[in-house]
Amino acid sequence: MSKTLRINGKTHQVDLPDDVPLLWVLRDELGMTGTKFGCGVAACGACTVQVDGEAMRSCQLSLGDVEGDVTTIEGLGTPDNLAAIQTAWVEHQVAQCGYCQSGQIMQAASLLAENPAPSDADIDEAMQGNLCRCGTYPRIRAAIHSAAKMMQEA
């Protein structure tokens, strides 16, 4: 039941039952609290991380099934060194309570990696699993468009 995980470029050894979801390994075992718990049933996206670049709901991914490199919000950028997408989020003052935003950003980052110039319809499609009870959607949309521009210009 000991397992090696690669998260944000670092290796972690964890000793937990195989069925513990990655979300709870990150939060309660490794102290990486940026990834949030919202529903536990794949219905809100607050727990979104990337595995080999693909957005995944970490509440649904058992420790035993994690294969590949995990990226969490902590691995995307830091307060002193924001990723372009985070800069766009700050520019548009997206967050309200902020609780859903780690998941929103991880989902949007994986959209942009696949599709550097998403249309509104692409954004609808990619982001529909990410709930925001504060209703920040208009600014998320604007920030994704800005980030796409920034990343293309970079």
């Binding site: 924001l82 209703g135 959607y137």
Partner: protein
Amino acid sequence: MASFKKIARRSFLVGSAAILGGVAFGTYKYHQPAPNPLEPAAGKAVLNPFVFVDQSGVTLIAPRAEMGQGVRTSWAALIAEELDVDPGKVTVLHGPAAKAYYNSAMMGEVLPGRGYNNSSFQHSLGQVVGHTAKFFDLQVTGGSSSMKDGFERMRRAGASARETLKEAAAQKLGVSRALLETKDGQVLAPDGVTLSYAELAADAAKIDAQEVELRPASQWKYIGKTVPRVDMVAKVTGTAGFGVDTRVEGMKFAAIKQSPYFGAGKRSFDASAAQDMPGVEAILDLGDAVAVVGSNTWLAQQAVDAIEVDWEAPSYPETTDAIFAEIAQAFDGSPNSTMRDDGDVEAALPEGAEVIEAEYQLPYLAHATMEPMNATALYTGDALQIWAPNQGPTVVQQAAADLTGLSKDTIQVHTTYLGGGFGRRIEVDYTNRAVQIAQQMKGTPVQLTWSREEDMSHDYFRPGAIARYRAAVKDGQAVMVHGKIAAQSTTREAAGRMLGLPMSGPDKGHVDAAFNQPLAIPSFRVEGYLAKPMIPVGFWRSVAASFNGFFSDSIIDEMAHKAGRDPLEFRLELARAEWEPAAKVLETVREMSGWSGTTPDGIGRGVAMVYSFGTPVAQVIEVADQDGQIRITKAWIAADLGLAVDPQNIEAQMFGGLAYGLSAACFGEITFDGGAVEQENFPDYDAMRMPSMPQVEVAVLQNQKHMGGAGEPGTPPAAPALANAIFDLTGQRARRLPLMHDFDLLI
């Protein structure tokens, strides 16, 4: 002049929160400052409860719950306005639970009167009455009150701190204070010498606080401008500490199972299946609940799920139908309030008047904050620490004192960021649960996180409500509106629960946004009826305005159509005759949306205007028929806050309020079967998502004299504007919510 004491006393007896005990306490002591909770240390100047300065710089205390509304930034900006610091460059903290941080504005709301037409006299009376909150330690965030509450107080704190620092510099430099200026955290002397606030801290600590006049509006640098949110970078990097992110040395994780029946205890439980599950460290009997403490939240949750409990039976009507039958019975009694009674609704109607009779029904609703209920507690026998995303630190503290028998001064409450509040986190059930667990785990900090299922089914719900309206129009004009509203009383039930004070008298909150709509209708009566307590009810973003806004605007829309009038023009005429700012928000959405009164085939438009929490808000919503399904495509919002402290932030509150209202209008309902809540998680309590959210445009106006709230007033007009748009599209009137039962919504 009659003493304020007397007037306030009388007002308390009339207003709904007579309750809050002002009667017993009076207001005579209101101007005595509460003790400063910040303890000065060597070299650190605690200039007042909101500003302290030490060698490392300036720290501002914004003791209001940051739940997304931007209060931490706005309060910091108000202090900074006078203190001459950049809010982005200072530390802003929430601070401890303390009397000094009472909410002075919320109590003012209990005064009788419609709000929009209050005289300045009533407003200043409101301020005086507001100070009585201090007696009840009400350090709470709610009622869209933070800006009204902080606007003067925070600027005064900043000004006094600035002058005290200047005085310290004056003494040090041997020049008159009047010759000194301040800028960007420094005092500037005429000879070019600069002293940073940090350098002056030690000296300033020895000087009495100085008071000065506040700067005039013409000199404002931050007020009225957009100030970047001080919490934004943390929130986009996953580094903002929410309640669930609390990590304390040696901390364990807990999960809980509470009775599916409100107020019901348990007979017995069998935890044998849970005992040997991995990660389980303790199984706790909490009397009317069970909990598991373990090494990991998920493992604790699996174990608590495996515990079998025999619960006592519910003692209230067990099905949604039975509950609503009980609510309807309230109409058979006498009204609790008749807060508006213009003209004579019982007089014979003029010949040719057309009558509308409508019954509307809205469901119970859960708050469903993104961050589920949680709290962390450490009990050591003679002291207690609580970390919680809460809207009322002193309320949490008091409840914990009652529960443990500890005195309040041994209980420390740390307020984290809140992953949504919406009124849910003004309750203390979730902090009490963490305290109960901590008491059995002496010396070990424990974090309790509720599952989403637990969170959704154990809320203090927005009450279900029924309205019966009778209205008449003639020759295109409104003649009469008579509305009766029945629901459980949020204010009464919460006052009893939180303050232990029984309440009597008319409940103004219950009919808010029904009786006080700024519309001139010759005969206009609104009666409130209180249903008996059944389901736990609480404050849900915009409280009773969340249902009354729907009732009172829907009937106006029905009247407009019956009268053969354009619904926007009809409202505009009624608003103009009553209160100009309400007319202005309607005119603004008319311009913004290019409202013409007609829409192409396959498109529907609806308008609504609701006045609540001091702010009139008009919304136009557009819907489109997409292959037989209804899609919400656009929304235009105009809100008049009198003085808009931070327009960009207000814009966010407006579209956020809209999203919250639309979510409820389309999908929100909590139903009951066998006494238990039927909804469990987001799949059966869904909300607006990226594809369903309309494009939104917001206009923030500043026409009215008084300062309105921002967090709540955006919610009430959303449901009626949408229902009116759907009527325009389909010809079918929505008299109940959620709309998903009667319409095919594209989601």
